[in-house]
């Protein structure tokens, strides 16, 4: 029997597997290395890095909702310098590609991180996060406006020749408008979706539960929304898509590929099962064998092309 070929090219990044670690839940990778064989991953996208250290939002930062998770971490991170000196080195030899998620409050800040990461050994891609709902300025403010998207992506593009992913926000009326703006500004691939903006209220105190009032909703609850946005973006742009939002099973992975993603990332799913990564990959391979589809590339966007014809 043929062995399924899981290789994909994500906007210039050659991946051994189409299953990636989404930015955030895995932190900078250290803690989960002990629980997962990272060489099973196509890449790890590390948590958002800004030019200077960010403190993040007040506690509490997490609230569980029905099949979902609200977080308001607020991109707490040690800043570019500390990332380069402390967090990156141990990641280099973990057997997978490294993509760095970058954030800023202004276009200049985005550009500064990008330029600081340009040419650094072991960094295979940048993911421009213009979609974090947990910031007062920057973040999502860029990702909900096509012009701002264009500006920030262009600015980052000028700083680096590393493959650029742009991470889109689902909190928009029409995802294709933003997707096209990012593509036009030079993105090599698009990541979608970031979290949906949401909140929860503690009925005992009568106040918003999260320290930051609002948070970003992730997890299985948002999968149908994410899938539709991937489907729509696939119909609008030519660059490859990295699909994510609520993946917890191989069947979820397949859905995203069929909808138009070239690869997928798992975020919140790691919390439900700290060893999820290898199970997803096995399940994907099993599905491909069962369906007689031996290249992941052939799964991508298949649902746009009439689906699978496996009738005898």
């Amino acid at each position: 029997m043929e062995k399924p070929d899981l290789k994909v090219n994500l906007g210039g990044i050659a991946l051994e597997s189409p299953i990636l670690a989404a930015s955030g839940p895995f932190g900078y990778g250290h803690q989960y290395r002990e629980l997962n064989d990272f060489s099973q991953l196509g890449a790890i996208i590390v948590k958002g890095v800004s030019s200077e250290p960010w403190a993040g939002n007040p506690a509490p930062r997490l609230a569980e909702t029905a099949s979902g998770l609200l977080n308001s971490i607020g991109l707490q991170n040690p800043g570019l310098k500390s990332f380069l000196s402390d967090d990156l080195p141990p990641l280099r030899d973990c057997g997978t590609k490294i993509i760095v998620n970058i954030v800023g409050r202004t276009i200049e800040e985005y550009a500064a991180v990008a330029s600081g990461l340009d040419g650094i050994d072991g960094i295979n891609g940048l993911e421009v996060n213009i979609s974090c709902p947990n910031l007062k300025a920057g973040g999502m403010a860029f990702g909900t406006d096509p012009e701002a998207t264009h500006k920030v992506v262009s600015a980052v593009r000028q700083q680096t020749s590393i493959p650029l992913l742009v991470k889109l926000s689902p909190n928009v009326t029409d995802i294709t408008v933003i997707a096209l703006a990012a593509e036009d500004a030079g993105a090599d691939a698009l990541s979608l979706i970031n979290t949906l903006s949401g909140m929860t209220i503690d009925i005992e105190s009568g106040r918003p539960f999260l320290g930051n009032t609002f948070g970003g909703l992730s997890g299985p609850a948002i999968l149908p929304v994410a899938l539709k946005m991937v489907w729509q973006a696939a119909g609008a742009v030519k660059i490859p898509l990295l699909g994510m939002g609520g993946i917890t099973s191989a069947s979820d992975v397949v859905q995203f590929l069929l909808a138009g993603a070239s690869a997928v990332a798992v975020g919140t799913g790691i919390f439900y099962n700290p060893e999820i990564v290898s199970g997803l990959k096995e399940g994907l391979v099993e599905y491909m064998v069962r369906k007689n589809i031996y290249r992941v590339e052939d799964l991508t966007a298949l649902a746009h092309r009439g689906g699978i014809n496996d009738e005898q």
């Binding site: 955030g24 839940p25 895995f26 932190g27 900078y28 250290h30 803690q31 989960y32 002990e34 629980l35 948590k47 403190a55 993040g56 007040p58 506690a59 509490p60 930062r61 997490l62 609230a63 569980e64 099949s67 998770l69 977080n71 971490i73 707490q76 997890g219 299985p220 917890t248 919140t268 790691i270 919390f271 439900y272 099962n273 700290p274 060893e275």
Partner: protein, 256 residues
Amino acid sequence: MVNSYSTAIVETKEITSDRYCKLTLKAPAASVKGLPGQFVMLYLPSEYGPMLPRPFSIYATDREKGLISLLFEIRGRGTELVAGFDEGSGIKLLGPLGSCFPEPPPGALLLAGGLGVAPLAFLARRAKTPVTVLYAVQKADNLAFQPEELTRPGLILHLASEDGSIGYEGTALDLLAMHLEQASALYSCGPRKMLSKAASMAAKAGIECFLSLEERMACGIGACLGCVTETVQGYKRVCSDGPVFAAGEVVFNGKA
């Protein structure tokens, strides 16, 4: 330290007054490595729908038999499901996790509000010196274990209840006030508001004070930055920088 994720087997389960559950699990690695103040994450099977794991302090260990015990209140969906596990069934467990209490000096006070007693009971049993446990509940029914369960030479246990139905009539802080003078150090776990006041009382008395904090958690291992608490050095992770903190580090901010 390598985090250990494995399947623990429910050895025994006791549910008292419909509200408290003592769960003893066969979990050799956690039982051997677990220290007072550390906790484990229990994972709910996916047949119940996606659910975050639930953190529980280690209440007791039996290193020879490879057992750990947890003592918790049945509060919501997660603890209900955990309390529903049959003896003999398997449950995924990650841990032991987090920081532990330092060895208490002779004459240390261990102040527990409600279920905060779990890690302190473990500490009291393991400690090599005489310690005094102050355990305060709202009413006698809320005792999560029989006082006889917590005995060893040199261990003194004082109970209090707000309605006076057992022990001294008063709060944890009343009990603390009564015993603070003789104390060499304070170790405490319980509601945040209580911890905040206990910490200032210890500071006034000029004794060392360690607190075990709680926060909502997702990863439990320091990766997600979801469980932070404010400290004098900025936000720190309760799961991996804590849950035990020196009281002087913690910023209470008037928030309870």
